[in-house]
Symmetry: C2
Subunit: 456 residues, 2 copies
């Protein structure tokens, strides 16, 4: 293992070791250094891991990282590592590979697994089917507990898998019930499975979106859920550890979209600069083109600004207050929608709430803003003869702008979802533009009324 090279990145050419080999690192140390290691350093670090820990380490990596390691190995080793993967993880790895490499990777698997993996690859990645493990323990309802234990033992010897629940199927593979594995341990050996199984089984369909699957896990606190098709036939299981990644990735995507970036498809430091630019330039340009409307809006008030330059001084303050209150409201509503706490039909309750919240928040800012201008006018004789009128203009505008920001920030996610867009991805730009442009119109309209005959 070469010493950690802090300047290396995944796009570096295979590097010459900078320092003589030192002590091998532990799994945890390698994991810790992983993001900053080059591809060749990773392969080297992995090769030097103690055999005992290397398996868990490999299984814990992201599919793309597993693929990189695998492609750097001699062919004989590739087979061993590929066969260590559960079918759903093998499918992820193959899907992370270039099209021309996929057949070769699939050929490393044994025949039954290859069939399972190929079947799994047909599922869309973001559906329950894409998280499915086709290996699960099955029982018949008329077995005794003793028979069930023997039968499960055979299944486990044939193909090892984590055993949480045993699923009771009829001859047509329809799911009749479920028995937690530990229960087989404590029930009398002569008891019938049909008498001890739980028949009120929570299940998901292959087509359910993975984020909804994650919500099901959150609601029921189970460690695995069976996947059944429309006819009630058992297809496989999803386990809760796969769902942790789903929840984390969904949150990351939402956070990035709220920040006005297309969802990155990898860790920040591992994405190449051109790719990073591509993910950011789209929304940034869209926002910019939208914001050009502010120049148009300001243009309409050019004469007012020329007569009362003091008005221009508060433009950034006014529009940023609208933008901030809008981003508070839209962030809260987008997240509540993602968590299933707010549905489209709740729009009216949210609207009522945000109008009141906006008025309250606007009133607070209004008082602060009014006081600030009056103090500066008194102490520094700023803002000319009509400082009080200017202070009233800014104060009143703030109530209107903040209320409008909260209202439009909270309602746009509903509108976007209603017309079929993802509320997270398109909201920030629309709210920003809408609130900035209408904020300017509110401000200059209030000014026209208050300052007419004075400054204007």
């Amino acid at each position: 293992m070469t010493a950690m090279r802090s300047e290396s990145s995944s796009s570096d050419p295979p590097g010459v070791p900078l320092l003589p080999p030192s002590e091998p690192m532990s799994s945890d140390e390698v994991l810790d250094a992983w993001p900053v290691l080059s591809t060749s350093d990773r392969a080297e670090a992995f090769r030097l891991l103690p055999r005992d820990g290397a398996g868990d380490f490999f299984l814990g990596l992201r599919a793309a990282d597993q693929l990189d390691l695998l492609l750097g190995m001699p062919a004989a080793e590739q087979r061993t590592w590929m066969r260590l993967l559960a079918p759903d993880d093998a499918a992820d790895l193959v899907q992370a590979a270039k099209h021309e490499d996929r057949d070769r990777l699939l050929a490393l698997l044994d025949d039954p697994t290859r069939r399972e993996v190929t079947a799994l690859m047909a599922h869309a990645e973001d559906r329950a089917g894409g998280l499915m493990d086709p290996r699960y323990a099955r029982l018949r309802a008329d077995m005794t507990v003793d028979e069930a234990v023997r039968y499960l033992r055979e299944q486990l010897r044939e193909r090892r898998h984590t055993l949480l629940y045993a699923y009771v199927l009829d001859a047509e593979q329809r799911l009749l019930g479920v028995v937690p594995f530990w229960q087989l341990f404590i029930e009398p050996g002569s008891a019938r499975i049909r008498d001890i199984m739980k028949t009120d089984v929570v299940s998901v369909s292959e087509e359910m979106h993975e984020e909804q699957v994650a919500q099901k896990f959150g609601q029921h606190h189970l460690k695995a859920l069976p996947i059944v098709d429309a006819e009630g036939r058992m297809k496989g299981v999803v386990t809760v550890d796969d769902v942790v990644d789903v929840v984390r990735e969904a949150a990351t995507e939402d956070i990035q979209k709220i920040g006005g970036v297309e969802a990155l498809d990898g860790p920040y430091l591992e994405i190449s600069l051109p790719r990073m630019l591509k993910k950011r330039v789209g929304w940034l340009s869209a926002l910019f083109v939208g914001e050009m409307l502010t120049a148009t809006a300001m243009g309409y008030f050019e004469r007012e600004i020329a007569r009362a330059v003091v008005l221009a001084l508060f433009v950034p303050l006014i529009i940023s207050s609208g933008g901030n209150s809008g981003s508070q409201a839209s962030t809260l509503v987008i997240r509540a929608m993602a968590l299933g706490e707010v549905r489209i039909r709740d729009w009216w309750r949210v609207m009522r709430r945000e109008i009141l919240a906006g008025l309250g928040l606007g009133a607070v800012l209004s008082v602060i803003g009014f006081a600030r201008i009056m103090v500066w006018a008194t102490v520094f004789h700023a803002y000319g003869d009509h400082a009080t009128a200017v202070a009233i203009t800014v104060g009143l505008s703030l109530v209107g702008v903040v209320m409008w920001g909260s209202l439009s920030g909270s309602m746009l996610p509903f509108l976007l979802r209603r017309i079929g867009f993802d509320p997270a991805s398109a909201c920030a730009p629309f709210v920003a533009t809408l609130v900035d442009v209408s904020g300017l119109i509110i401000y200059f309209s209030v000014a026209a009324v208050i300052l007419r005959g004075r400054l204007l």
Copy 2:
């Protein structure tokens, strides 16, 4: 069950049913309607659930909702439901209760469980100890597999718990190894536990932050992790289903903080309006006070604006571009930090990246902005005789402002973490204020150079 009352909220007084009782709802229907049901409707819906599903339903609720249901039940029933909870969930429920109710709730438990729950309550909620289940299966290293199975069967009969792994302890309760439960099923009965156990055990400490625990699960793809103290003594286990909630809640908090809101401590629609205002008014006022510096900055350039009002027209466009690029950069860095992809020592790599990204993005916006002004000047004869000079001013400013936005947006999270703040919670306001104020200074400074002798 009364019909769903869309206007009810948790703060409503116990309501009179608006409609005659109809068909009982299924668990899934009740879960779906839960957020919009009043406390009394919830109790009623829960009472009418089929006995079979009610247990799972209760276990799947948030601690605060379990508490509400429990407090509305007759005393005899309270005992049954309270004893259904695992010790860590019981501890959460008790901690959700008012101080005066806690002793009464604890008294519902049997003696050993009460001792466990009281011990768990001593742990900070956001540490591994707060997620800990003190009930786990234990073995001795010198047992045979047959003895281990008998021993586990006794442990399970005494206190049921989900069985994933059996932990091998010595006489001082030190953790020696781990055996997956299914393995006991397939090993020969005479094999010794010490020969089949895995000794390279991944474990966590009681004091580890729950988000780090979640990262451990993500790295190792395990379904449970043992918690050991500084002396290597086993204290309990954390299971992956508890971690799903941790990941989801941590992401929600980060999203809310990025949106400029203090983390809400409950679903959006269930928080009272005054509480919601309190969560929002702090940051909004802080942002507002910070943004007042823009009025000060604009004040310095009042003479320039008076001479060339056209400059004022592009102020919102310039500062919003800086703000947007800053929020892109800070969002990406904050999330990458939360996921452990970027550490403090990576600041230099991030900085280099963001300077380049900022220059690239700024160049794109600059071209768009320049073109927009030139087209308007040509087609509508807007922006007076010096339109080209204005276009150059705006174009050059955009490169500087966007680069500065990306740079400060990416570096502030590092600075905040370095001095001990949560990067998510304080970043948005600082970036917005910093970028807006410095954006104005960049813009008017560029204008002073380009337009001197023309407009200024």
